[in-house]
Amino acid sequence: MITAKRLCKSFSEKQVLSGIDLDIRPGMIFGLLGPSGAGKTTLIKIITGQMGFDSGEVNVFGKAVKDLTGEDKKRIGIMMDDHGVYDRLTVTDNLKIFCDIYGVPYSAVSRVLKEVGLDDSAKKPAMKLSKGMLARLKLARVFMVDPKIIFLDEPTSGLDPMTMKYIHKLIRDKRASGATVFLTTHNMEEAATLCDEVALLNEGKIVERGAPDEICRRYNHQKKIDIHLTSGEDIELDHKAGSAEMITRLLEQGMLETIHSSEPTLESVFLELTGRKLDQEEEEMYA
């Protein structure tokens, strides 16, 4: 569905993408993870033809990006984090413009508003929407033409957990109806629960890829058991038979408060691979 080979892109001396390979199969949710400035947005822009590239190959629907026809583009839905809406127009009027452009009947508006749960706000001007509602309006705009491929650049960043869950459900529904989804995020949890496959992008290179749980298992080499005692003490046990005795004893003495094995998360894999926290930049920004 989407493939890239040895894709490179630089902005005046600064190499942003160096040799990206991708193969995204139809019907999956693919997540591109990486810290701020890794080149996620740049990669989406290149794949969607909003930006050129220096070398390599990018194919969508089996065609080079520049050869995509107007018909092809209609089957691609794109939501970029900086793409705006018409503030003064109502939710409905915002969508009607795109009905006109795509040649879709106006009846699609109420269908798609129901889908994203905005039917109560149909008559509201877009500038009066909350952040979460605005995100859903932008999604509605993408869903209107029933795209085969959907690109979402940080679809849930800065949203409350409720809206986030809701949007995840929408994305899964799209997969169920046969769409391929390409999304970016810096939220590890989101990637782990939502994506069929992820790629970790760091400084312009893909440093790891695969199904989230498979990646985590691959990096599960230290295998530890973390225990928190009622006394407030923390102890770490090895993943060995001998540890069982110790655990039994603690249980008998009623000293055990919590216990879990510490499998790596995408977050810790990323840290191990790059020595860099995924949202370090943001943390520094807000510090």
Binding site: T48, G84, R88, I97, I101
Partner: protein, 228 residues
């Protein structure tokens, strides 16, 4: 082609809700109607206010509205969404241009209501020409400016010069001489004559030259920056 109509429709919906742009279109026509009916000073030239406000309208409304429409759309990245949906840049610009021109012509139609009907065709021709030049200039500003703030600071001085020069020219000979290089002043002269007969070459030359400059700035801007 269909997309041009869609842009026009979108602008129409938006203008009704955009008071700052709406006022641009309505202010001069309304002021003209009021002044022509309310004020009469002895020895005042015929249709003094209609003619003066008409050229100010030309220098102001199309220029500022086209520039701010384009700049706003770039600032909020809605233009990007349109181009991603396969609306071509020229279709967008044509849509905005035609829309503003039509609205301005409607305004000019209102301002013409006081004129003798035999003068109206000539008057509307002059207005139509002036609007086109101003729209080209507004579009050039809109293309150059990355956002509305920059657009405003660019079109303000330009608009002031074009729309106020004809008025100031009435009070001061030196200004009148300088103002002759602007199309608005020459259009003012033409409105004074109200006839195609005896149009001076200087007048035609200045207007054509202004139009050429406006259009070449527009095309240069478009070629260099596109609608990014």
């Amino acid at each position: 082609m269909r997309n041009i109509g869609i842009i026009i429709k979108k602008q129409l919906r938006d203008t009704l809700k955009n008071k700052t742009v709406l006022i641009q279109f309505i202010m001069f026509p309304v002021m003209t109607l009021i002044m022509e009916h309310a004020v009469s000073i002895p020895d005042m030239p015929e249709f003094f206010f209609t003619k003066l406000f008409s050229v100010m309208y030309i220098g102001m409304a199309p220029l500022t509205s086209v520039a701010s429409i384009i700049a706003e759309e770039k600032e909020k990245n809605t233009l990007r969404v349109l181009t991603m949906a396969n609306v071509k840049s020229w279709e967008y610009l044509a849509g905005v241009g035609i829309y503003v021109w039509t609205l301005c012509m409607a305004g000019a139609g209102v301002m013409a209501t006081g004129l003798p009907s035999s003068d109206i065709p000539f008057y509307l021709c002059i207005m139509a020409t002036g609007f086109i030049i101003s729209i080209a200039m507004g579009a050039a500003v809109g293309i150059f400016a990355p956002n509305q703030m920059v657009a405003t600071s660019l079109f303000m001085p330009v608009m002031m010069v074009f729309s106020f020069a004809p008025m100031l020219a009435m009070f001061n000979d030196k200004i009148e001489k300088a103002a002759r290089v602007f199309y608005t002043q020459q259009l003012r002269v033409l409105l004074g004559q109200m006839t195609f007969d005896g149009i001076k070459t200087e007048t035609v030359l200045v207007i054509v030259l202004n139009a050429l400059i406006a259009l070449s700035i527009f095309f240069a801007a478009f070629k260099r920056k596109g609608l990014e």
